[in-house]
């Protein structure tokens, strides 16, 4: 399940004083709702502000309130009102508190659902009283009577709210002796989603998400009462580009991702904070990996970028990292196209020797807007040394009006800010082509791109004296390269990107690179040192800070300023 966003600190104009578990606290009178509009602060929000978590299933800060799970019922007391509509006071002048009880049975509490009940002045909230506990126990018992004992095979086990709350708030034993309701299992809801209706607690988060956030009203509840089940219309598929968010939202194991289904238990996985690279939105993600294998991406909350969501396409775009045709060796080819595998020391040395013979102006560099700012900075140092013509390869696709951008490069704005690419990405490529064919350009350095895809055919490449290629996956250009340097996927290194809106965000290393592949910034720095005699910083944060200091666009921000949510720059 996705973490629920911690609300940004709001400096309230008006506050309300309430008592939470006996201590007086001031909370803002209004708090943003799921769309960011101010609404009267609810008990749940108020308690969260003072660090008291109230268990809940149906409530989600990014979805409209439903109030159906009743898990967040808490005992509340309100100031008693006299006949004159004024609060009755105790002898010491404090308002007299009347606890909520059932009008027909004052021995039982009348709970208030924390997710929808606004706080009122002098309200007393009991998140931990016996009555609150009793109500929670009752709800959990109800939820569990028809829930299957599937934890052993359920993918949600380990991150399941039903498991967690049962341990925390439930009873060890249920009195239930009847036959459980059986509902459809292994329901094929769509191409990426599998539904198990027996596990569903009918919180309707998935329905609300797809209706109100993804604007595809594809899910509903069919049947009635205890037999209620979540379903898509028979014969139609739940297949919009945001379906997998419902898996994160599902507090139990009812909705599971087909991609992740029965692949790995969640408690084995390491979580790494990273950025999705499938388009220029730069959705914040958590990478789940175990023993150098990536199992899943999950969105990470960032209100400035992707709220709590990400698209399915981006989420499932990680498998290439483990592809068989990953480049794993440093290769040097002689003019007979015979290649030899060498160590990094050798290739850097021989390459720098060759490069130092290059004349200024005879070098072209095609970098990638999928490279990190730090790498592009080092490439820029090389380019400046050779007075080289540079550009990046544009990548366009379809966008939507929610999260997906049509620019499929994650770092276009970084490439522009650093000066490798220009407002129209790829505008220099014809120039480079022309330079090569006219013999002005003798050396081509290509970083992270298959240049044959942008029209550089064999005939053109044959005119070059020197072709240096660094890439992650094998390609035709890689086969032609005089020097081939294996690169790293973003999951295998650290770095930063600048997204579509100019937010600088960093990504961390989740897995080790295969074979000889190593983080590009490391060998790029070695190359820069050898070729230019400059000494860029030798740590990644150092490189970032250096780049930022030398580049007006970044305004001197420091690596540590990025935090986990990034920071905005002017673009």
């Amino acid at each position: 399940m996705a973490n629920e966003t911690t609300k940004a600190e709001i400096k309230p104009v008006e506050t309300v004083t309430v008592k939470v578990d006996g201590s007086r606290v001031e909370v803002p009178k209004t708090t943003p709702d799921w769309q960011g509009n101010p609404i009267p602060t609810t008990i749940l929000q108020a308690c969260k502000m003072v660090g008291k978590e109230i268990p809940h299933y149906c409530y989600h800060p990014k979805l409209p309130v439903a109030g159906n799970c009743r898990m967040c019922l808490v005992e509340v007391g309100m100031p008693a009102m006299g006949r004159d509509r004024k609060p009755i006071l105790n002898q010491d002048g404090t308002p007299k508190i009347q606890k909520g009880v059932l009008p027909y049975d004052p021995s039982l509490p009348r709970g208030a659902i924390a997710c929808a009940t606004p706080v009122a002045p002098n309200m007393e909230i009991h998140t931990d009283s016996d009555n609150t506990k009793m109500m929670r126990e009752g709800i959990l018992e109800s939820l569990l009577i028809n829930h299957p004992l599937d934890c052993t095979i359920c993918d949600q086990a380990g991150e399941c709210k039903l498991q967690e709350y049962s341990m925390e708030h439930g009873q060890a034993k249920s009195q239930f002796v009847e036959t459980k309701v059986s509902k459809p299992k292994q329901v094929d809801l769509g191409p990426r989603i599998m539904l198990d209706d027996e596990r569903c607690v009918l919180c309707t988060r998935c329905i609300r998400f797809t209706r109100d956030v993804a604007h595809d009203d594809a899910l509903g509840i069919v049947n009635r009462g205890s037999y209620n089940t979540i379903a898509a219309y028979p014969g139609s598929k739940f297949d919009n580009n945001y379906t997998l968010n419902t898996v994160d939202l599902c507090p139990v194991g009812a909705l599971t991702s087909k991609d992740f289904r029965f692949q790995m238990r969640v408690w084995f996985m390491k979580e790494t904070e990273s950025i999705c690279t499938s388009c220029s939105t730069g959705c914040n993600i958590k990478v789940g990996s175990r023993e150098n294998k990536v199992y899943r991406y999950e969105p990470r909350d960032n209100d400035a970028v992707n709220a709590s969501w990400m698209c399915d396409e981006g989420r499932l775009n990680y498998k290439w990292v483990h592809r068989e045709d990953r480049l794993k060796e440093c290769l040097i080819r002689n003019h007979n196209s015979e290649s030899r595998s060498v160590e990094w020391v050798t290739i850097i040395q021989e390459l720098s020797e060759r490069l130092s013979k290059c004349e200024k102006g005879s070098v072209a560099i095609l970098a990638s807007a999928r490279a990190s700012n730090e790498e592009l900075y080092l490439i820029k140092l090389l380019a400046d040394h050779f007075e080289a013509i540079t550009d990046c390869v544009p990548r366009k696709g379809e966008g939507d009006d929610f999260l997906v951008q049509s620019d499929k490069n994650p770092n276009s704005n970084g490439a522009r800010a650093i000066g490798i690419a220009f407002s129209e990405m790829g505008i220099q490529i014809p120039e480079i082509d022309e330079g090569i064919s006219e013999g002005r350009i003798k050396t081509l350095l290509s970083f992270g791109e298959n240049i044959t895809r942008v029209g550089m055919n064999d005939e053109l490449l044959a005119k070059l004296d020197l072709l240096v290629v660094s890439d992650i996956l094998g390609s035709h250009a890689a086969d032609k390269a005089d020097f081939l340097l294996p690169g790293c996927a973003h999951l295998e290194k650290r770095g930063s990107f600048v997204n579509e809106k100019g937010r600088v965000q960093k990504f961390m290393k989740a897995v080790e690179a295969p074979g000889k592949a190593r983080p590009d910034w490391e060998w790029l720095r070695e190359l820069v040192v050898h070729v230019t005699n400059e000494k860029p910083a030798d740590t990644l944060p150092g490189l970032f800070n250096e780049m930022s200091a030398n580049n007006a666009a970044f305004g001197g921000i420091q690596w540590k300023d990025l935090g986990s949510l990034g920071t905005d720059i002017k673009i």
Partner: protein, 471 residues
């Protein structure tokens, strides 16, 4: 001598009385509407002007009319909550989704005297500046829907409805909307959702109080059929005159639906509180007593969701003595006046004023199993305690009635029901748990005896089985 007092059903059963508008008008119909709509703005003593609408609302307030649907909430007060400053249209819905088992009063009004409802509705709509109103009638009343549609057409033809009602410039349209077999549509927010074309899931309150955020998120008034009919009579008689009917705080008349094991089941209109439960069951003017040779066992006083009352039960009631001071007196079940407050004091409710009588031939466990099956079937399943608990109770009772009871089942049922009441979105939680709680509490011996007998029988058959297999 207690007897019926017919106000709403004054004409319904008269020989030759038809649901036509002509017949209705020949019996004084639509006079209250004409009177109401002709009201002029009036200056009050403190110099403010009261619009005709405000005057009608004042009359309803002073009549003390309480909602006839179940909760018995003051109608005037309900109208006073309506948000009239939002700038949004105000809607009115007549709740004709009569679904509480035991109740069949609205059916009589709709089938026999539909114009009375139409007139009451037009006055109420006028009083609340409503221009679009609906009658939500339960799906099982296809004939009622047809009759109402015809009545509305007739009213439209006569100019009581539609554009420019009676030449006053006031527009009102009323449509009939049919339900399709869901008890939960009787809950006003469930009804609103249903009318919006959704599953009848009651809304959470706060924030969705119908008076502020009702139909299409606009202020909405939802009133029962009988309540709206009463409004017509209030305008005819004047609020204070109407308030003289019945007893203080329990004014007017009510139609009592009497069913179960009595000689003369049926509907009886009484002045509220002017007949006791005993009279309603035994008096010849009403139920006429139990069947031959039977004794009273229990009654459900306000539709099947009300807590059951056991024959011979005694209640402590506050009654004014001859000096006018309140004094506690013991009242037998049969001497309970049939009104809102007395039944509430007795720990139950008059609900939709439907009395179900059970005599000594009734198996109490079977009766509760029947009621529970109804509620398990009707739970909308939106919120957890009721969705899971209602079927759980029904399954347990079903097990008990099929010979697999246990001694601890009485406590088991109480445990389940306690977990539901007061924790749900709407009052259905109470509706499904109250019968269980009250039946089990008041007839615990029967539940335990049945469980014990089943356990003994089970043990015996197990032993037999063991002996047989040993042989």
């Amino acid at each position: 001598m207690p007897k019926e007092f017919r106000l709403i059903l004054k004409n319904a059963d008269k020989p030759g009385y038809t649901p036509d508008i002509d017949c209705y008008m020949a019996n004084g119909g639509y006079e209250a509407l004409k009177k109401s709509i002709a009201l002029k703005a009036k200056e009050t003593d403190d110099g403010k002007t009261k619009t005709p609408q405000e005057q009608i609302r004042d009359e309803v307030m002073s009549s003390g009319l309480r909602g006839r649907g179940g909760a018995g909430f003051s109608c005037g007060l309900k109208w006073s909550f309506v948000d009239r400053r939002s700038g949004k249209p105000i809607y009115m819905i007549c709740n004709a989704d009569e679904s509480e088992p035991g109740t069949f009063k609205d059916r009589q009004i709709i089938h026999k005297d539909p114009h009375q409802l139409v007139e009451g509705m037009i006055i109420s709509a006028f009083a609340n500046d409503v221009h679009l109103a609906y009658i939500y009638i339960r799906g099982e009343f296809p004939e009622g829907a047809r009759i109402l549609n015809k009545a509305l057409d007739e009213a439209r033809e006569k100019g009581f409805l539609g554009k420019d009602v009676l030449g006053t410039g006031y527009d009102l349209e009323i449509h009939v909307h049919r339900g399709a077999g869901a008890y939960i549509c009787g809950e006003e927010t469930g009804l609103i959702e249903s009318l919006e074309g959704k599953r009848a899931y009651p809304r959470i309150k706060p924030p969705y109080f119908p008076a502020v955020l009702g139909l299409y998120m606009c202020p909405t008034i939802v009133n029962n059929v009988e309540t709206l009919c009463a409004v017509g009579h209030i305008m005819n008689m004047g609020g204070s005159e109407y308030a003289k009917l019945g007893t203080p705080r329990n004014t007017g008349t009510r139609i009592v639906s009497l069913s179960g094991m009595v000689k003369k089941p049926g509907y009886y209109e009484i002045e509220v509180g002017k007949a006791t439960i005993g009279e309603l069951i035994f008096d010849d003017a009403f139920g006429g007593g139990l069947l031959e040779g039977r004794t009273l066992k229990a009654i459900i006083p306000g539709g099947s969701s009300a807590k059951v009352l056991k024959a011979g039960e005694k209640f402590q009631m506050k009654r004014p003595n001859k000096d006018g001071e309140l004094e506690s007196v013991e009242v037998d079940l049969l001497d309970l006046p049939y009104d809102f407050d007395s039944l509430m004091a007795a720990g139950t409710m008059s609900g939709s004023s439907a009395i179900i009588v059970m005599d000594d031939s009734v198996d109490i466990v079977e009766a509760l199993a029947n009621v529970s099956a109804f509620y398990a079937h009707e739970s909308c399943g939106q919120c957890t305690p009721c969705r899971e608990g209602s079927l759980w109770m029904s399954k347990a009772l079903n097990r008990m009635t099929s010979g697999k009871g246990r001694k601890e089942d009485a406590d088991y049922l109480t445990h389940i029901a306690t977990n539901i009441q007061g924790r749900t979105i709407c009052a259905f939680g109470e509706a499904c748990s109250w019968p269980v709680l009250s039946f089990v509490k008041k007839f615990k011996d029967e539940f335990e005896a049945r469980g014990a007998a089943d356990e003994a029988a089970q043990l015996e058959s197990n032993q037999k089985g063991a002996v047989n297999s040993a042989n």
